[in-house]
Structure formats: structure tokens, C-alpha cells
């Protein structure tokens, strides 16, 4: 009997949690429980990111998603969870249509995932991958230097290729605009009406 592969064990644990709580989000009728299940599902996804060697993305998933976005969502739930809105019932016809859609999508996606031989687990027994921390390389990439593929770039284009610097700038301006827009949209209008 082969030795137990602990990477696979942890993958199985986190995969079961991530997909199981995702299903629970769909099936739960109470909006507060849905938020709780969503937090657990996204936390388990961060574990999957760590298992894939993406330590920085996993940490960001925990900090931004679980710590930021979901806290925002929970506040939204608390501000609107009154009486009838806590558990709005879905009609039976919608459930049938939705589950039909889910079955069709799964029947397409999962066999497609396992249909390519290179994507399956065909690694030899002596396969070794060295974990390098990704934070420094990602930071350099966002500042415009891809330290992981310095040789790949063609010489004439080298001066103009700045990697992910432009998307990084765009996304930072986008975040500023979104913050201003969200504050403008969510401001209370009642006080203005009384003046």
C-alpha cells in the first residue's frame, strides 16, 4: 500500500469544505446563514490557494475577501434584515429551472476538466516542486519588472514592456472612483429632505 499523500488529504478536506458550503449557500433560505456559509466557503478556498502554492493570493483572499468584502456583506445583511426579508422564499418553478441549469452546467464543466490528460494527476513518483514565496515576485511584477521571466522578452520590445504596471495603476484609480461613488450612493438623503 502506498503512503498517504498529505497534500491530497488536505486538498480533499478543503475541497469538501469549499464546495459543500457553496452548496449550502444555495440551499439555505435564511440570508444570515447564507452569509456564514459564504465566509466558510471562501475561507476554504484560501486554503486551496495555499495548497496550489499561491501563498500571497491565499493571504489576500483571507484579508480582502473574508476580512473586508464579507464584513461589508454582513453589514448589508444586518441593515436590511427585517421581518419578511430575512428568508424570502423562492418559488418552486425557479428551483426546478435553477437545478436543471446546474445539472447541465456541471455535466459540461466537470467532464471537460478531466478530459485533458495533461491536467490530470500523471506526475511521476520522484516529482519535486520547490516552493518559492510569491510575494516579492508579485510585487516586482506589479511595479513593472517580471523577475521570473527576464529572458523571455524580445530585445526590441524590452523598453516598452512594463508588465502589470498599467493595470495596477488603472485598478488603483478604479478603487478610488469606486470608494467615492459608493459613499455618494449610500449617503443618507433623509437629512437633506428635512432641511
Amino acid at each position: 500500500m502506498d503512503a498517504i499523500n498529505w497534500h491530497s488529504c488536505l486538498f480533499l478536506l478543503f475541497a469538501t469544505m469549499a464546495s459543500g458550503f457553496a452548496v449550502a449557500v444555495v440551499l439555505a433560505g435564511n440570508i444570515v446563514r447564507m452569509a456564514l456559509y459564504l465566509i466558510l466557503s471562501l475561507g476554504a478556498t484560501a486554503g486551496l490557494f495555499f495548497l496550489a502554492g499561491a501563498d500571497f493570493v491565499g493571504a489576500m483572499q483571507l484579508m480582502i475577501y473574508v476580512g473586508g468584502t464579507l464584513v461589508l456583506l454582513v453589514f448589508g445583511v444586518m441593515l436590511t434584515a427585517q421581518g419578511p426579508f430575512i428568508s424570502l422564499k423562492t418559488q418552486a418553478g425557479d428551483w426546478v429551472l435553477g437545478l436543471l441549469l446546474a445539472g447541465c452546467l456541471l455535466a459540461v464543466l466537470v467532464p471537460a476538466a478531466f478530459s485533458v490528460a495533461d491536467w490530470r494527476n500523471d506526475k511521476p513518483a520522484d516529482f519535486v516542486a520547490v516552493q518559492q514565496d510569491t510575494a516579492a515576485r508579485l510585487g516586482m511584477g506589479l511595479l513593472g519588472v517580471r523577475v521570473d521571466r527576464l529572458e523571455d522578452r524580445p530585445e526590441p520590445l524590452k523598453a516598452g514592456m512594463s508588465s502589470y504596471l498599467l493595470p495596477f495603476e488603472i485598478v488603483s484609480v478604479h478603487l478610488l472612483v469606486v470608494l467615492v461613488g459608493a459613499a455618494y450612493l449610500a449617503r443618507s438623503k433623509r437629512r437633506a429632505a428635512t432641511n
Binding site: 491530497s8 457553496a22 461589508l72 464543466l109 508579485l138
Partner: protein, 114 residues
Amino acid sequence: MGLLTQSVGVSHFMAVGAIMFVCGVVCMATKRNALGVLMGIELVLNGANLNFVAFGSDFLRTDKSYSLGLDGNFVALFVIVLAAAEAAVALAIALNFYNNHSTIDVDRADELRG
């Protein structure tokens, strides 16, 4: 027992991503609460993120020449940031809608109907 002794590949991560994506789509389609629809969007984005990270990983496949490498991580980071921005704006709109109409049911948000 087979999965406990074998190593996992990109396919297994893609299967988990597919399940999360489908759950998100069904959540968006069936929930009547606007915040439930938002949660479905978060699930869809996370399923996609899982695929990006899995394709960029060095651990999951032997032939690294086809790997996305760090690009998968970059795209995943941008998706996380954009999801946070989207959640902020969508929540502001939902709260505004709740203040004006005293309901959070998306079925009743049909004022633009022709």
C-alpha cells in the same frame, strides 16, 4: 481511497471551481434577496479565481512549459480587488434601493420596466 494516496492535478481544482461557479449561478438565478444575488456573484468570481491559480501553479503538473506561472496569480489578485470594488458599489445601490422602496426583493425592483 484512491485520492488519498495519489497526487492531485489541475483537474481536481477545476472540478471544485466548477462546483463553486455553478452554485454561484444558481444562487444568482433563484435568490430573491438582492444580497443573496451578490453572494452568488462572489461565488462565481471565486470559482474562476481557483482555476486561474490552479493553472498558474507549479505543483499540479509535470510539464511546466504550458503553465501560466505568475500570471495566474496576477489575474487572481486583480479579480479579488475588482470583486471588492463591485461589492462596495452593489451594496451601496442595494442600501439606496432599500431606503427608497423599503424592500430588498429584486422581484419588486421593476420600475424601469417598459
